[in-house]
Every structure is written in structure tokens, then in C-alpha cells.
Subunit: 370 residues, 4 copies
Amino acid sequence: MGNTFGHLFRVTTFGESHGGGVGVVIDGCPPQLEISETDIQVELDRRRPGQSRITTPRNESDTCEILSGVFQGKTLGTPIAILVRNKDQRSQDYGEMATVYRPSHADATYDAKYGIRNWQGGGRSSARETIGRVAAGAIAKKILHRFGVEIIGYVRRIKDLEAPIDPDTVTLEAVESNIVRCPDALYAEKMIALIDATRQNADSIGGVVECVVRNVPIGLGSPVFDRLEADLAKGVMSLPASKGFEIGSGFAGTLLTGKEHNDEFYTDDTGRIRTVTNRSGGVQGGISNGENIILRVAFKPTATIGQAQRTVSQTGEATVLSAKGRHDPCVLPRAVPMVESMVALVLCDHLMRHHGQCELLGEPLGEPLE
Amino acid sequence: MGNTFGHLFRVTTFGESHGGGVGVVIDGCPPQLEISETDIQVELDRRRPGQSRITTPRNESDTCEILSGVFQGKTLGTPIAILVRNKDQRSQDYGEMATVYRPSHADATYDAKYGIRNWQGGGRSSARETIGRVAAGAIAKKILHRFGVEIIGYVRRIKDLEAPIDPDTVTLEAVESNIVRCPDALYAEKMIALIDATRQNADSIGGVVECVVRNVPIGLGSPVFDRLEADLAKGVMSLPASKGFEIGSGFAGTLLTGKEHNDEFYTDDTGRIRTVTNRSGGVQGGISNGENIILRVAFKPTATIGQAQRTVSQTGEATVLSAKGRHDPCVLPRAVPMVESMVALVLCDHLMRHHGQCELLGEPLGEPLE
Amino acid sequence: MGNTFGHLFRVTTFGESHGGGVGVVIDGCPPQLEISETDIQVELDRRRPGQSRITTPRNESDTCEILSGVFQGKTLGTPIAILVRNKDQRSQDYGEMATVYRPSHADATYDAKYGIRNWQGGGRSSARETIGRVAAGAIAKKILHRFGVEIIGYVRRIKDLEAPIDPDTVTLEAVESNIVRCPDALYAEKMIALIDATRQNADSIGGVVECVVRNVPIGLGSPVFDRLEADLAKGVMSLPASKGFEIGSGFAGTLLTGKEHNDEFYTDDTGRIRTVTNRSGGVQGGISNGENIILRVAFKPTATIGQAQRTVSQTGEATVLSAKGRHDPCVLPRAVPMVESMVALVLCDHLMRHHGQCELLGEPLGEPLE
Amino acid sequence: MGNTFGHLFRVTTFGESHGGGVGVVIDGCPPQLEISETDIQVELDRRRPGQSRITTPRNESDTCEILSGVFQGKTLGTPIAILVRNKDQRSQDYGEMATVYRPSHADATYDAKYGIRNWQGGGRSSARETIGRVAAGAIAKKILHRFGVEIIGYVRRIKDLEAPIDPDTVTLEAVESNIVRCPDALYAEKMIALIDATRQNADSIGGVVECVVRNVPIGLGSPVFDRLEADLAKGVMSLPASKGFEIGSGFAGTLLTGKEHNDEFYTDDTGRIRTVTNRSGGVQGGISNGENIILRVAFKPTATIGQAQRTVSQTGEATVLSAKGRHDPCVLPRAVPMVESMVALVLCDHLMRHHGQCELLGEPLGEPLE
């Protein structure tokens, strides 16, 4: 268990980095949604290795096949299974991994938990697993798009290089205009240079992905345990290498007083109740308030590095390891679509849950756009 | 939905701050565990309002009654229902809340989502709801204690006052030795003074609760979605007023390189595989590795303040609000047992899940202590 | 675990026959539904012991208290907790039960599973547990009623006395017109006489409850595992003493050929597609087709009887037991509201699930009535 | 939703009869279990069409591929994905199905619920979907086998031909010795002749599958909603064409008095508490008591028949339909492995649940066999 996410829009991923392939089953997708392999491939291409010189040189096309749940271009309401075959597998790169534990990796804990481990390329703990999430996220995004919702992730910080970005105005075009996915062109260049230097040093770096959601329907989130921020936190903290989450003012907000921090209300020209500031990050009391949702995720530096590290073998003998496999010096650029996908899965699920519970007898919050 | 937490050790809370009471149903508790109302009351007393001069002057004894699931002092394996009646209710303090939205509170979003709201004292969005969590957490702690697990939460920071604390050696006694629950005596005094001053100014402040778990069984956590850190994040981010979560090196860890950040392995004198450092915070690949779990939660300044704030009424008219109800100038001291409880619920659930899946055919990780 | 039922309309029951009380938490109820303790009490009174001379003489008023989730007469959308205190407890009647296993009861299996058991009055295995189900069912019925749905259960057969009843025309008034809840007056008399005679013989009898649902929205049910008939089967087979379930033609339908059994389609005067016959029992392919849902549940003769029976003690010694506690000679009259409640819980949950998944983007099946 | 079954041993099926294929993802499987495609293929071959002259002449090899979760012949504890490609597809046989509703099929209800339908070969409502269940059931059986559990299903009755079979002694060899899977050789011949005659008449027939489980661990089942018989009922009633379920004495048991029906206890030579009779069918109070579990499932006559039937088109026009697709005149022989699989899924899940909850602190019920 532990490989299913969501309540109504339920996503189950499967697959290891080596073996028959990786994929996802999406159960509960609304019927009659137009979807094609192209819609999904676009997002997978943003995630795939080898997409640029600052990602791992492993070159996998990650071509997806929709096995079920779609008929004549539309969802059936039945489970959508999507499969991506594993292709560019060089098991020889990983021979040592069968017996030596990589520091800050999952090798040792998988062995301890399961008593067995697919040591080829990280197996289930490989970031390759996130293919299923991104494929499902592509569908969730399409549903949300029908309600006008826009989700944009981007690299906010690489190591100590923090770009000045306004989440309220950032565009997907700006994000996708460079290979590091930082919408600030100047900082993007600096970040790319830093990643290049880090790779040449056989080291790795991390940073912070920020994600903004605009045009969020009011009313999403199910207190008390399924508060929207709680489910968002779980979603992104289930991504490999994530070490921290914050929403709105986050940790920095604890430095303010209540008077300074509170979001005062006003009524805008259209009669809608709004907040003057948005330190809440679009969520109050666990429920979306219609302001932009803004969240940040900390990703640690990639655990796999070329430099020599002290470690132990499966049987506990001390040894030294220098990773030979191909790997990312910085996961952040590829983490952007992963974060967006988890956010989309959470919002789509809560949209359906809200519809099922609160709009059954009452007024609908809004209609899907044509 | 949204009011149940956990998979095998399943907790469902109910109740509003005003009305018949608040409580919890725990389904799936292992049978034959000794438990009494006293075990639960100890933890509820750490959470209750009026426990000290720096918490809200609302004085509720929060006496719990075990309605079911315990017989002759032992759990039956059937649902344990625990009820705490609401007592010290002064609805007159809250009259204005029926029509005016408190900034950064849940009033407006509850109205938007449900079209109806119990406006007395915050209703379901009141921190009073956490009574059920703390009661359930007391039972989870007892189970974990049988396996040697120790969970200690404490106030690490109030506003910009950050105490120097070593999570590996901190004691419950030190935490409980002062009313702010900061184990550093010097900083505790400073924090208490700051809270006092803040209250006199009719303002509020926030901060960071840190929590350490020691003697954690290796192998807890169910990748990929139910990674241990993901479930911990969800648990604590579902607490009222939480705005951020981090584990191990957290956000600060993103400033290091991989070489600096990785936890190298070694084998200790007893033959156990350990890590030299613990930037992972006790979790690698979503699974506990036996090192101490260390996590931090950011709590914003209390939204309810005595100072005047601009806001709107339910019908959108601009108005000014100065809270008259009794409230905490700083939630941190009372948040400590809440954080501990959510951590205990997550770990207990994963202990049972691990037992059900991975120890069915294989070797048990360890035996409960007598 | 095992004490929660439903996906969106989630019901968790708690309580043993002796102890603080029994009850239920309903999570996910749509907000703004008018509900009162009277609405619930009406159904509890149909279930309660001592309601007539053919039920157990235990006389409990089973008065319910709504603890949470309802405000000013309307549901809040937050968890609704309902508590019924235990009152008429004569533990002395049950002294022997602490050590002697009642044949065909749950005493021995609870001991084997949990290693502990509340032996007073059956504890959790008591039919008293169904109070929570009936209370939740009362709310589910109210929601369904808003969509025109009508659920009527009745006693179809007691032992070999099978009443001729037309499910398409049976009325609640006819069912409630006599104490055995058989809408056929002639058979009702015969059944009552048979139950009287059975009680005088210190024996017990069983039979079949039939339940019809009229005006069912088309489209309820979630293939493949949550087919409507599968969830209905689970719901009623989770009731104490149930031994069999069938829908539509059931077991008898297996004696027909496909040509004889199939329900041919036609279009009625209003343009609606209907079936000429209804051997499917209102469900085709796991989804309601708008025809009446008709199902039957077999209830075994009450296990508790006054006659002497051979059995063993907890430690395995042979002994003889004659039940002294007060008990029903036939559970069928009181099982009627239990069956109706489980059917209502299943349908309400599926109505909400359908709304959440299939009506998000598409056309609603219908509107709630005012 | 609705396509996941089980709590710890969680099975999600996907796929339509036409399209990329059908399959299953099993999440939560215990690690280190030896499993191969051969183990699974054996069971799929018992289910596959074209296996004998009394099943559909559609000839599909249904060859399975394990995509993930198994490494070097053993389960990893990660999700096991199994895929069976669709092969022998003659869409031209189904052209009419795009617009004409087959009586007693799912065509009309799928259209009503989802507003769209894969009309080729029944789509998701095809019995082909059960491939995933049988594949998962093969793994569940292997786990149960480690605990000595034996599950044997067989055809008990075809139309009115009811074979005299003793569930306590029936063998798999006897069941598999003939193509109708009735262990009584004499009745098997009669049944085969009846099916042959029915097919020649372009008609279809149904019957009853019985299933016995021997060597069941005591203590499986989670009252109150997840009583073992409730989950068994749900499991088998989610199979296509099932119309009824009974356990132990079932409907016939309602003709007895309590004195006649109760299973008296005794202590056997080994000191184990047993029941003299087994009208409970191996389950008391929702929990297995160690006696053989015996259950029966009614399967209606196949809906698809060659004879002309009156029906309507998608737009409601009256028409006549004679099925041209290849189909089973009687599903019973192929339903046997389906019933066994659902029973195995339920028992395996409850075995793990019991282990997770009740054996955490207490004594294990037993050890897996080597």
C-alpha cells in the first residue's frame, strides 16, 4: 500500500526504473473529457531526462501509451491506465549498487523494510517513478483548466541564488523560456552557470520550487485532516528529495505579529469578498479562498554524486563509493512539472469531492467552461 | 469527509467549539492495551486552555469520558470513542462573529464552502477540535512506547527568539519545566516575557515547534505516496495555524552541496548500520532509517487579536473588528502536544501497516517490550 | 478498522451493548439539510427493543442526542456525531457469558481474534450496535427523499410462511400497520402467532426481509468492484444474523434460460427507456437503471434461545447453557429498519460519488426537489 | 473510482475488452514471496475463453506479463503490475452494439451514467475485466497457501441439475477433471450435455458456484462493517452476472428453528474448540472460527444469446437483436476461478489486517509454513 493518492480522482502508480516499465492507473476520472497521448506527452517531455545539458545525460524518450479508459479521444469514466516502457537501461552502470549503499539514498532503508530490493537504478525509489504522477497530472490539469484554473511552477532558488519573481504575474512562457525553468532571465543564466560548475565538480545542488495556482474555485479543501494545505503538503512531500514545504507566508511569516500578518478583507468592484494581502497563500481554515495559492518546496542536493564518499556494503563493511551512473547535478528543473502535477492531483480531487458533498443540494460554485 | 486520519489506526474526530462536545473515534487500535482516562487526561491537560497565564484565560477542564472500546482497563480492539463535553461557553462574546468575518480566520471560507457556519467560537475551525487528536495521540503514544519509541516536541522559536536545543538529548522534563514548553530555561524566560508584552499590546505572535522521535523502528513508511515524511507533513499541516513543515536539514539544507549534505554510512560497535550525520532527519527514501526523526512546524501568529482590523460583513459591507473573545496571544505552548499527537498517529499507523505487510512472511523488526 | 462504511457519505459506528453508549459519526453529509433529533428518533423507535410483545422485553428508549454537525436545525457539512446512552443494563443476566460460549454467537471468535471481550450482553457483537446505522440511515433517507427516492423494507417470510407481496405497490403504512412489519395483514397474523408459539417454546426463528427502492436515479453504482449490488450485498451482509443476499431474480433466476430471464427494453410514453420485466432488480452492469431495486436478505433464527444447548467454556470444558437474558424470538421485525438503513447508506454514498465524478463536466441526472 | 478492492492487499484493475489490454496493479503485497508468470498463467488458463467446447469459441491465449514489483523471482513489496494484451478482436462482430442496447447487459446503464461507452465487446463491463482479478487472486492464493489455506470452487448446480458434493472432501483434481468443473463425474456429464443443447438452441443457462475454504486461520474478519461474510459477499457480488450470495446455511437455514440451527461447541482431541455442525459456514460474528468457510454464488443465464430479442436503440427506437458475437452459453465453468480469486483476495487482505492490528502486541495466530 502507499501507492495510491486521492479520494475521488485516485491515482495508483507502479514500476521500477528497470523492468517492464512504469505507469499509472487513474480511477475516477470524469467521463467525456477529451484527452490524447499528446496531451500527456507534453508534460512527460518536461520531466524526461536528457532534455537539456543540465539534466542527466540518460536519454529516454519516455513515450506513453494509453492502455485503457479512453475511447475515440474521450475519457470513458473507467480506469485510465498509462504505460511508459523502460528503454535506455545500462545495468552495468549499476553493478556496484547491488551490494553498496549509496549515502542519503533509499538503498539501505528498502533493504531494511522489505528484505529485498531491485538495485538496478534505484528501482522503485528512482525519480523515474514520477512519470506516472506527471501523466496523471496532465489529465488533472485538463479538468482544472475547464474551470479556468492555471498552475505554474518554477525554480525560485538554486542553492543561494534566489530569483525575484512575482507569482501573480509569472507566465508559463517565461518559465519554459530557459532550461532551468526560472522565469527571471538574468537569474536563469546564473543558475545554469552554477549547475554547470557543480557538475564539473562532480557535486550536486538543490533549491526551492515555487508554485502558484490562479483562478482557484473558492471552497476547495475538507477540514479538518484533509485541509487543502495538508493535502498539498503531503502531495509534494511525497516527491523524491523534498525536505520542506510552506504555503503563503510560511516560515518567514512567523517573524511577524498577528496585526502585521493578518489578511484584511475588502469587497472588490464586482462585489466579491477579497483579501488585501495574501499571507494566507490562498487557503484559510483549510479551504481555498479564491486568492492565488502560493507554495514552496525545498529539494535537497541530488544524493548521487561523482565524488568519493565513505559508506558501507549490505553486510556492513566500510567502503568508498563514487557514483558512475548518469544523474542530474540538480533536480530542480525536472522537479517543476512534478510539483505542478501533485498540486493538480490534489486540486482536482478536492474539486470533485466538493462537488460530491457540497453541491449536491446547494448551489454550484461555478460551471465548467466550454 | 476529511475528518478521518490513518489507514489501520484510524482516527475520526467530531465536534464544534460550541454544542454537545468534541471527541474522537479510534478504529483499529490493537486489543489488550492498558489504557485509562487518566492516560488521556494527562495529554489533554497539556493542551487545555487556561493552563497558564500565557494561554487563553478560557478555563475549561476538558474532562474526557471513554464511551466504548475499553473494558476492565484494556482495549477491546473495537472502536474507542472519547467524548469531552463543552462547558465554559460564553456565546455572548461571539455575537459579532455571526455576521462579521475575522481576518485570516475560517469564517468566510466555511460560509463559501458550506453555505452555513456555526459562528459560535469558530465552530469546527476552532482549535478545540484538536482535543480529539490529542486524546487519540495519547493512545498511539502508549503503543509506540511499548516499542521504545519516544516523541518529544518543544518550542524551538517564538518570533525571532530561537533557542539553542539539541534534539538528541532534550528531555520531556526540561520541556515541561516551564509554561512556554521551551527546554532552554534562559530562552523560555525571554519567550514568556515576549508573549506577555504581545498580549498587553493586544497583538499575537507565532513561531516554530520542533519535534524529535527517538528509538524509531527501522522500516516505517510506505513509498511512494505514503512516504513517512509525506504523512508527517500532512499530519502537522492539518493543525490549525500551521504554515510550513520541514524534516532534517529542511529548507536550510538546500544551501549545501550534495557532498556536504549526504549522510555517510558506517557500522557501529553493535554491527548496526548508522549514518555519521543526520541531515535526512531519520527518513531516507520515505522510510525510517533508525536515526532520530527531527521535524519542524511553522505556526503563524494567532489570527484573533484585540487590535482593530478592517474587514467585511457576511454581506460584504466594510467594517472594523476588535476581537472580544478570550484567545491565546501565542499558540505555540499548546501546539506542542498537538504536534506530538499527529506524529504519534502517523508512526503508530505505519508501525501497524509495516507489521501487516512486511512482517507477515518475513522476520519481525522487533518485539514489543513488556 | 472495519467500523467505517461508505466513501463520501462515511459512517463510523462505535459502542458496546454495555458501557457508555453506542453511536455514530457521519462524515461528509451535505450541508444545509434540515435534520432534527426527531427525524432520527422515528427510525430508532422502529428498531428499539421492547417495541411490541414479539420483540425482546428489554425496554430501552434509545433516546438520541446530536452532539455535533447540526446548527440551528441544519447540517453544517462537518461530522455529525450521535450518541445513545446505554440504560436498561442488567449485567447479572449475563454473568455466565463471561466464561461460557453461546452457540452460534460471536463470543468464541471475539476471544480468539482479540484475546479479550466485553462479555456483557454481547459487547460489540450485540445488535445494539445497529443503532448507529439506523441513526445514520435516517439522515441518508432524508437526502434521498430530496431526490424522490423511497425505500421500503418489510418481512417477506418468517420460517416457511411466505407472504404474497407486490414490491411495486407496497406502502410504508401497510408495513407499519402491524408489529411484525409484514404488509399482508393475513400473513402478518399468522407470523405473529408463529413467533408467539416459538417464544413459548423457548426457541427462535428466522426468515427473509425484502426491500424495494422506488424512483432510483439512473446511473448509481461504480463498476467494477463497487457495483451497486456488491455494495448493497456488503451493506446488508454486515448486519448481525444475515446469511444470504439476492437481488432481482436471485437464486431462483438461475432456473431460467437467458431467453426467459432477459429484460427486454422498450421506450415508454414519456420517451424514457424502460425494461418490460425487472429480473435484473433495478441494476444492470452494476449500475441502477431506474427500475425498482428489489433485494432480499436471509436472517437466521436468533442464536440466543432459552432451551438447553451443549457448549464449552472459555477454557474448553463441556457444559450446558440455557440463555436467561432477554432476547428476541425473531429478529425480523426489528431487522426491517436496519436493512432499509444499510440500503440508504449505500444509495446516498453512490449518489454523491456519481455527482462528484460524472456530473462534474456533464449533465446532472436531476435536481433535488424543493 | 470503484476499481480498487481491499485495504492492505489492494487490487486495482483496468482495461476494456477492446483497446490496449487489461490488467491489474496489486499494492501492498508482502515482499519476498516467490512468484512467476507461470503461477499466474495457470489460473488465467482456467479463466480464459476457448478453453473447451462449452465455453465461447473466442480463442485468446491471455498471456500475462509482470511489468513491475517482482525481481529475480520474488516480490519486492512494491506495486505488482500485470498486463494482458487484447488480441483476438473482431470489432466487426460488434458493429450493431454501437447503437443497439443488448437486453440485461450494461450498454444502456453505462451510457446513462457516463454519457459515453466503449461499445466494442462490452468494454469495461466485459467479463474480460476479470483477468486482473484472477491474476491478483493467483498471488493471494500463494500467500494463503503459506498458511495452509486451501480454496476450492466448483459448479454446484447448472439450471436445475444440482450435484451432490461434500465440500469438506472435494478435491481440486476432481474439479479440474472435466470441462464443466463439477467434481461429480455423473452430474458433470449431464451438465455438459445440457450446456451443449442450450447452445444449439441459441439460448443460455446459469447456476450456482459453491466455494469451500479449508484450514482457515481463526480470527479473520473486522466487525462490524467488514465482517468476513460482508466482504466475501461484496467480492463475489462484484463479479459479472452474479445475482445472489449465501454463506453456510444461507436461505435454507431460515426454515430451521434456533435449536435446530445453532452450532453447538465441543473440544476436540487436540484441545481445540470446534463446532459439531457448521451451519455458520465457518464465520461467527463476522470472524472466521476455523471451520470450513462454505459459500454459494448464483450466476444468471448469460445475457448474450443468439435468439432474437426485442430491444431499443440508443435513441429509443424499437428494434430486434440477435447476438452474432461469440459468447458463452453458460458462464459457470469459467466463473469458478473468478469466485476463488475474489475469495482469496478477501482472505489475504483480512489476514494482513489481522496481523497488523491484533498480532502487533499479542500472540500470532500461527506461522507461515516453509
